[in-house]
Symmetry: C2
Subunit: 193 residues, 2 copies
DNA sequence: CGTCTATTTGAATGTACTCAAAAGCGGTGG
DNA sequence: CCACCGCTTTTGAGTACATTCAAATAGACG
């Protein structure tokens, strides 16, 4: 069952007891999503911190011209959700959609606060989680400001192995901040691998 | 004195006691930096989580061609430091330099761990701090992938008011991921404010 | 005042985008 | 099982955004 996967994931970051895990399962809500189903729509309330138990979800933002920009591809045992909307209890800035059939565990704000209050191990877990996430966000920013589109695509292939086979190319282009047409041309150039 | 500023800053995020603050001052090391003095050099060990008590520091990364890329401008009551090097106790990926005379409080890894262990309020403080930082990093990524250079500069002016008067333009260009020449041209275009 | 660095300016170039059209691909229904 | 529809990807031509390089100008500091 998926509970083992979750437990194992928590334990990789910090020491959690059986009781802590129990509390987590009590407070979180499981949800199944079919391919292309939305977890949350932009501008809607109800942002939750969401653990992807299986599958793959995409977080994206639609700008004033309704062009979507992909923020994140979330895979198994990654967390997703609009953190700002979650913290401030405001409408979500992003939409989140399942790219394949997926299972998630959602944690609402009050439950999250309760979890951190009653199980200090989770306070610690999330501190470490955010800390790691911050590191990878910093790296992504460095890449954004210092690499060409081609280099960014190479980096993407390394950091998200296999994802280019699953998700539509236009979404990867959006994640990298380039047009799908240009990504197509980059891919053509690097045919000999 | 600066201790009040620090206390006030901690209290804005979470409830800390007198004792917690005392522990922080015991465990952290104060340091003064003159203008252009380096807090840490890229590839050197000793990364510390650093609270900027006064002044302004710049975090940057030099790529293989030795071109510097600015990651962050840190101002009063902001934290700075290479989080990855800090967590993993590895050489720093970035250099950090004082742009004006500055005062900082540095927290080494072991002291940080001790602080979180002995004062759970700090575990919570850092969880919240990283959480907020993550939100602003996400926004920066969105801007990087969806805005033109001109829009990015406008955003920068809003989010770092007054900084364009203090720090050399080439550093701002680097922060935005554009060339100094092009920033100069952008600025020329928007003379009528 | 002279030196050093930062900023501006301009011309030529390159990288990435827009638009339009064609080709490919996957799902659905007959 | 094939034909068709809608969506994604490819291709190409023309364009815009941003860079490079070089030179001139402006500012900062001893």
């Amino acid at each position: 069952m998926s509970l083992e996967k979750i437990t194992e994931n928590f334990r990789r970051h910090t020491a959690v007891t059986e009781r802590d895990i129990e509390l987590f399962t009590e407070l979180s809500k499981s949800k199944s999503l079919g391919k292309n189903e939305m977890l949350i729509e932009q501008d809607q309330p109800g942002a939750a911190l969401t653990l992807i138990v299986s599958g793959c979800l995409m977080t994206f933002y639609s700008d004033k011209d309704c062009d979507p920009h992909v923020m994140q591809f979330g895979r198994e045992m990654w967390w997703t959700g609009d953190l700002q909307a979650f913290v401030e209890n405001t409408p979500s800035l992003y939409s989140i959609k399942a790219l394949v059939d997926s299972e998630v565990a959602m944690l609402e704000k009050e439950k999250f606060d309760q979890l951190c209050r009653e199980a200090p191990a989770f306070e610690r877990y999330f501190r470490i989680l955010f800390q790691k996430s911050l590191v990878s966000h910093q790296k992504r920013i460095i890449r954004n400001i210092s690499n060409t589109a081609e280099e960014k695509y190479e980096q993407f292939l390394k950091s998200h192995p296999g994802l280019e086979l699953t998700v539509p190319q236009k979404h990867i282009a959006s994640y990298l901040g380039i047009t799908p047409e240009f990504l197509s041309k980059i891919r053509k150039k690097r045919v000999g691998k």
